[in-house]
């Protein structure tokens, strides 16, 4: 036992009568393993036979499962469907394959465990443990090898080898790291500061790609908008799929018509057209589309972490983990009465980054 390792102070307890302490051991003695109690199958041949049959039945279940799987794999139509009470409509093919595989695996598993529990020996065996630490002899031997190795290397006498080898070992991985880190991607440059919006680009409905007449935007209506040339047919024709995705990720805008008397910010009205205002739809938290607009409250809600922006207050954050207001896109109308951008965004859209300021 480990008693001898215990600090001696542990033993006395002021609460106890001194005489009781003297006569009795400090701790209870280990009574050793309790007597083995035989199981039914150990003493009753009938019970053992029953257990044997149960094990065989489970293994047979596995065989049946395997066969059902094979038959189903080749014979059932992959599109076959079935109705199960309580679950609803299901893919018959998938369910039969899954259940038969479950039987095929589970039969073996439960069979083996049942076999071990009922028929294999259940007397516990004791194995000795030895301390993890090596015997002193091994430690001394190892120390001697290390010492003679160190001496044989002559590093103690020729420190310059040690130093130069250290420097070389310290540096050799740098080319590898530089290669991979340096070539993984381009530097961000100005990309995070800019979108595809430019002065004069029409606001197009996402996904149809049709322009929007200011007069068609009724009070309270909402449009999801992309810049002209970056949505619909022209985009499919002129942009790669990658460019199209990037445009969607950065340029998406939500357009709403508010009653100007509800709006609290003059700048917001100035950047809009008769209460029609456009805001970046990329959440300033970590970039989900801020897609849920509540008409009555004029709140924009981001479904990812529930940041809430108030449309009547220049899309300021009124709740949730985002800090910054959604950037506003200045808009105006062109000669034909369509909404167009009056400028690009005047600050970076989307999640914060360190150097954005």
């Amino acid at each position: 036992m480990t008693d001898q390792n215990l600090p001696a102070e542990h033993s006395s307890d002021a609460n106890l009568p001194a005489h009781a302490n003297e006569a009795l051991p400090e701790r209870f003695e280990d009574p050793g393993l309790p007597p083995h109690i035989p199981r039914r199958a150990d003493v009753d041949e009938k019970a053992a036979k029953r257990a044997e049959l149960q094990v065989v039945a489970l293994f047979t279940l596995s065989v049946v499962g395997t066969l059902v799987f094979l038959v189903a794999y080749f014979l059932i139509d992959i599109d076959a469907r079935a109705y199960v009470i309580g679950i609803g409509e299901i893919s018959l093919y998938h369910v039969v394959l899954g259940l038969s595989m479950a039987a095929s695996m589970g039969g073996i598993g439960f069979g083996a465990v049942h076999w071990a529990k009922t028929l294999m020996p259940d007397t516990e065996i004791v194995e000795e443990r030895h301390p993890q630490a090596s015997p002193q002899e091994d430690r001394d031997g190892a120390a001697a090898i290390l010492r003679s190795g160190w001496q044989g290397s002559q590093l103690g006498r020729r420190p310059m080898i040690l130093q130069s080898a250290g420097v070389a070992m310290g540096l050799f991985s740098i080319p590898l790291v530089v290669q991979v880190a340096g070539s993984l991607g381009p530097l961000p440059g100005e990309e995070l500061y800019d979108t595809n919006w430019r002065r004069g680009l029409r606001l197009m409905i996402d996904p149809s790609g049709t322009p929007i007449k200011a007069s068609d935007v009724t009070l309270g209506s909402v449009f999801h908008v992309m810049p002209e040339g970056f949505i619909g047919e022209p985009a499919h024709e002129n942009l790669t799929a990658e460019e199209e995705m990037k445009a969607k990720a950065e340029d998406q805008v939500i357009l709403v018509r508010l009653d100007p008397s509800d709006v609290k910010s003059q700048k917001q009205l100035d950047w809009g057209v008769d209460g029609i205002v456009a805001y970046s739809k990329v959440c300033t938290h970590v970039g989900c589309p801020v897609a849920l607009y509540e008409q009555q409250t004029h709140h924009l809600l981001c479904p990812c972490h529930q940041s809430t922006f108030d449309m009547t207050e220049d899309c300021k954050v009124i709740f949730g983990p985002a800090k910054r207001a959604l950037p506003q896109l200045p808009i105006t109308i062109d000669d034909e009465g369509y909404l167009v951008a009056d400028d690009s965004f005047r600050e970076p859209v989307g999640p914060s980054f360190w150097e954005r300021g």
Binding site: L16, A20, P31, E127, P351, G357
Partner: protein
């Protein structure tokens, strides 16, 4: 039953007739067994017999909680098998295609090859959906298994010397499992997983100084680019699995080197291991258990749909579904993001510091795992215990550790629940703002409540153990003393049951053990800051410790009619001398 034990029948008869005891397999056990030819062949080349002798007789203790690690191990194997199958059909590319498979609602829709191939696996490859579901369910089971296994190791103190290294390996494995799961979840490029990647880009971008560079390097340019899925794919099928398998191997080798821990009980000491031999019992049980885990995973995969990516549609950066949650193991991190208030972001000298984002993402995981990894070393520093421990603690016997673990779990649950705050709000018609504020408060309150409650609970359980040892179990028999007093006869515990309740070490705080340090003149010595901290922590751990009953205490309880000197003194429970022997019937209660 033990009456006919003299005439062995059934399985016992085989065993006792064999001199080899546990290894009896045939009835002709008396002829000495020979190795089969293939084993002899390999023995002559690599010494197989030596290894078999060492391995096959290794003893494994039995306890249901030891299966949790096995659940993790087996579900990892299932992930490896099914994942390899998936690579045969999955196309890790963000190249654009028009879907033309057999799922009618998406016919003609533009999408990435990754998403299209996931649809093919689900609808056009025979049994492909089953493999996908097996893969995803096994992944979830893997992470649940690891988490419960870790909890078992923590609450039983199995991380103590000499197993600290394995605790560290296990902790790293659990982190890798989460990373592996996240990477896999991102591969199909459906709307939900794409939203997860979008958030990941946002996290990385929030890192001070290097954020935008890191994002551009990882994504090969601006979000989303066309590199992230191929890169996550290589991480998911090569880099992380290689690390997982390598570390897992080290983990298992160390388990064999240390031999398994065991729960306390009669005959179990720090110098032995009591249980069943690998051959044949443990082989059948553990091997069978693999098939059980696989079978149950198949059953769930057959009946419960997971990640039906065709419902969500292909990823489109302008779309999002309300109520989008990641897989459960990421909930705590996503929950933390929901709770961190926006004012944690500020600008200084033209630079933006988004503590609201990177605290909950980039910092949270490494921080949590650093604490997990440090814990055994911290506890060891406090206890100063240099001994090897192979007997597990019953969680109640380490009340402060158990309370620390429970508080950590309470924080975890608050964060995880915060991740579903929108769903809770809708289900129960609550305001999401109120809920968020409630969860923010709970983050601090939950551990403050949990700690003392759990600690008290452990201490009461320890007291109950003491009571049981000192006064035995109630028999329901009422006896009248000659003085006319009535009391209930209590039956003393048999020595085996008792030993389990009294075997643990006394533990006392440093302040009680070492007193006030003085020099040789009896003058108080100044304590170093480190030592003071250690003493304070030791007090924190052990000052309310309930010590195990000693033989002297038990004797006192039996001999004194009144024993109010004893700690948990109830009045009528001491047995008058002479009644002590009533009804001791060892072993009969075990059946």
């Amino acid at each position: 039953m033990s009456t006919n034990s003299g005439i062995p029948q059934g399985a016992d008869s085989l065993r006792t007739s064999s001199s080899a005891g546990a290894t009896a397999t045939t009835e002709k056990a008396d002829t000495s067994p020979k190795l089969a030819a293939p084993i002899v062949w390999s023995d002559e080349r690599v010494g197989t017999a030596k290894g078999m002798r060492f391995l096959l007789k290794k003893v494994f203790p039995d306890h249901w909680s030891f299966l949790l690690g096995e659940v993790a191990m087996y579900s990892m194997v299932i992930c490896l098998i099914t994942g390899t199958f998936l690579t045969f059909w999955f196309v890790p590319s963000m190249g654009h295609v028009e879907y033309n498979g057999s799922f009618v609602p998406l016919k003609g829709v533009g999408m990435s090859e990754a998403y299209a191939s996931t649809l093919d696996i689900s609808f056009d490859i025979k049994g492909g959906l089953l493999i996908r579901q097996l893969h995803h369910w096994a992944a979830l089971l893997f992470i649940v298994g690891i988490a419960l296994h870790m909890a078992r190791v923590f609450f039983t103190g199995a991380f103590r010397k000499p197993r600290e290294i394995n605790w560290v390996i296990g902790a790293v494995l659990s982190l890798l499992a989460i990373i592996e799961g996240f990477a896999g979840y991102s591969l199909p490029d459906d709307l939900l997983s794409g939203t997860g990647i979008r958030a990941m880009a946002g996290f990385m971008q929030s890192a001070p100084v290097i954020g935008s560079y890191m994002t551009f390097f990882v994504f090969g340019g601006a979000f989303p680019g066309e590199s992230i899925i191929p890169r996550l794919f290589i991480a998911h099928v090569l880099i992380v699995p290689a690390l997982l398998v390598g570390l897992f191997t080290a983990h298992i080798v160390l388990v064999a080197v240390h031999k398994h821990t065991q729960f306390p009980g009669p005959g179990r000491t720090d110098n032995n291991v009591v249980g069943f031999p690998l051959m044949p019992v443990y082989m059948a049980k553990a091997g069978g258990f693999f098939f059980i885990v696989f079978g149950i995973t198949a059953l769930i995969s057959a009946l419960v749909q997971i990640n039906p990516v065709w419902v969500y549609g292909p990823y489109d950066p302008t779309q999002v579904t309300a109520g989008s949650q990641p897989d459960f193991y990421m909930w705590f991190s996503d929950g933390a993001l929901r709770l961190l208030p926006g004012w944690l972001e500020f600008t200084v000298f033209g630079t933006t510091w988004s503590f609201n984002i990177f605290l909950g993402s980039l910092v949270l995981l490494p921080l949590v795992w650093a604490i997990i990894i440090a814990y055994p070393f911290l506890e060891n520093w406090v206890t100063g215990d240099k001994r090897e421990h192979h007997i597990l603690d019953r969680p109640r016997n380490a009340p402060v550790r158990t309370a620390i673990g429970a508080s950590a779990i309470s924080i975890y649950l608050v964060l995880a629940l915060a991740c579903v705050n929108d769903i809770i709000a809708i289900k129960f018609g609550l305001s999401i703002n109120d809920l968020t504020i409630l969860f923010r408060a709970m983050f601090f309150i939950a551990p403050i409540i949990t700690f003392p409650v759990v600690k008290r609970l452990c201490i009461s359980l320890q007291r109950a153990d003491r009571d049981l040892v000192l006064h035995g179990t109630e028999t329901g028999r009422i006896v009248r003393t000659p003085e006319g007093e009535f009391f209930e006869v209590h039956e003393p515990l048999d020595e085996y049951t008792r030993y389990t309740l009294v075997q643990h070490d006394r533990q006392e705080p440093l302040s009680a053990l070492e007193g006030v340090p003085t020099d040789e003149h009896g003058v108080r010595k100044p304590m170093s800051l480190g030592y003071k901290t250690r003493r304070a922590l030791s007090d924190f751990y052990f000052k309310d410790q309930i010590q195990p009953v000693t033989p002297a205490e038990l004797a006192a309880a039996h001999s004194h009619g009144e024993h109010d000197a004893l700690e948990s003194g109830h009045n009528h429970e001491a047995l008058p001398s002479g009644q002590e022997q009533v009804g001791i019937d060892q072993g009969s209660s075990a059946k």
